[in-house]
């Protein structure tokens, strides 16, 4: 990195961006509960035939003593659109018939945007930590937060950001089920 490059490109990790580290979204209670029918559709689409998900008798014989659900399933269950809060999918297509069906759709618990003019978004990786299996009937809560924001330099000396969003999922007994982290590159 030359002095000239440093002067050419202002830092991406500005104080305003740095201030976003640790910022959390609201705690969201997911719509509905963990239910067998949702799990059937999820596990069949995943192609995971594990009887721990559907065979009551067998499940009782396992160390869990009951049916369990895939931990990562709660991350999709949690993004259910609440029917009492409008229909953002239809709204997105009414606003823009060429909508991609996802980018402009508001989701519960979203974090405030990081104040940067770097707009290109690339996936930089995912992490998953698993602590307990959800049970049928569990109510799922989750909360997002910016767990890390770092600056890196591209080959041409242009700074970019790696933004990591962490989401913790827990149940009505405050048992942490899993933690996911999704990192994106902002160029």
């Amino acid at each position: 990195m030359t002095q000239q490059q440093q002067q050419t490109h202002p830092p991406a990790l500005t104080p305003a961006v740095q201030a976003m580290i640790g910022v959390s979204g609201e705690v969201v209670e997911s719509w509905g509960v963990v239910d067998g029918e949702y799990m059937r559709r999820f596990t069949q689409a995943l192609m995971d035939p594990d009887p721990r998900y559907w065979d009551d008798e067998f499940a009782k014989s396992t160390r869990y003593g009951e049916l369990i659900a895939p931990p990562i399933m709660v991350s999709y269950l949690a993004s259910r659109i609440r029917p009492d809060q409008g229909d953002p999918i239809t709204a997105a297509f009414e606003e823009n018939p060429e909508s991609d069906g996802i980018g402009s759709v508001a989701r519960p618990g979203e974090l405030p945007p990081v104040p940067t003019n770097l707009v290109r978004v690339l996936n930089a990786g995912n992490e998953l930590e698993v602590y307990a299996y959800p049970s049928i009937g569990d109510t799922i809560f989750f909360q997002n937060r910016y767990s890390d924001i770092r600056e890196r330099l591209g080959r041409d000396g242009t700074p970019f950001l790696i933004i990591t969003r962490e989401t913790r999922y827990w149940n009505q007994d405050d048992v942490t089920l899993c933690i996911t982290r999704a990192s994106t590159i902002r160029r």
Binding site: F42, Q44, D50, Y64, I72, S79, G101, L128
Partner: protein
């Protein structure tokens, strides 16, 4: 004995498919415990082989309510996003990871954590191989921890999801792994 990954990648796609080691429900029901002492550096995990079709992709979109058109709208994918076809979901791939780790550690181990990146666009017609290999192991607080290299390769050997994982296996004469899972101190 699982077919070594390198050997599998030298086979024709149909032969790779015939070597699929994804367990059925009975296989998961009868799965024998792998103990920490059974595992050695370099051991390969079973290979899960998938042949995703447009129907599989649509089923996954529906199951998790992912409305992104690149996964089911071929015209949108080709002409709007300039993709080679509809795309296999990153969310499906990252859901296979905890399933794969769960299956290997059943019935009393724990699929603790994983990190991975998404690379390469996967499309219907690809043969996908979920794989894992033991890179190291250590014992802590009477739990056996096994570090893995994991990924999902295409039939052409392109790695679409390079990553690592850590799972917990019981010791032959050790106590049960705590549930909900409690990581050892300093981990």
């Amino acid at each position: 004995m699982s077919t070594p990954l390198e050997e599998l990648l030298n086979m024709e796609p149909e032969e790779i498919w015939r070597r699929n080691e994804r367990p059925d429900a009975d296989g998961l029901r009868r799965k024998a415990q792998i103990y920490y002492e059974d595992v050695n550096e370099g051991d390969e995990l079973p290979k899960y082989v998938y042949k995703p079709t447009p129907t599989h992709l649509f089923r996954w979109s529906a199951a998790i309510e992912n409305f992104h058109r690149i996964h089911y709208d071929l015209d949108f994918g080709l002409n709007h996003d300039r993709n080679p076809s509809i795309l296999v979901h990153g969310s499906w791939k990252q859901s296979v990871v905890p399933q794969y780790l769960k299956d290997w550690t059943l019935p009393n181990g724990w699929p603790w954590k994983a990190r991975f990146e998404h690379r390469a666009m996967l499309v219907p017609g690809d043969i996908l191989i979920m794989w894992g290999r033991v890179t190291s192991k250590y014992e802590k607080e009477q739990i056996g921890f096994v570090e893995l290299e994991i990924g999902m390769k295409t039939q052409d050997g392109i790695e679409s999801m390079p990553g690592t994982a850590t799972v917990a296996l019981p010791l032959r004469d050790g106590p049960p792994i705590p549930y909900p899972f409690v990581p050892p101190a300093a981990d």
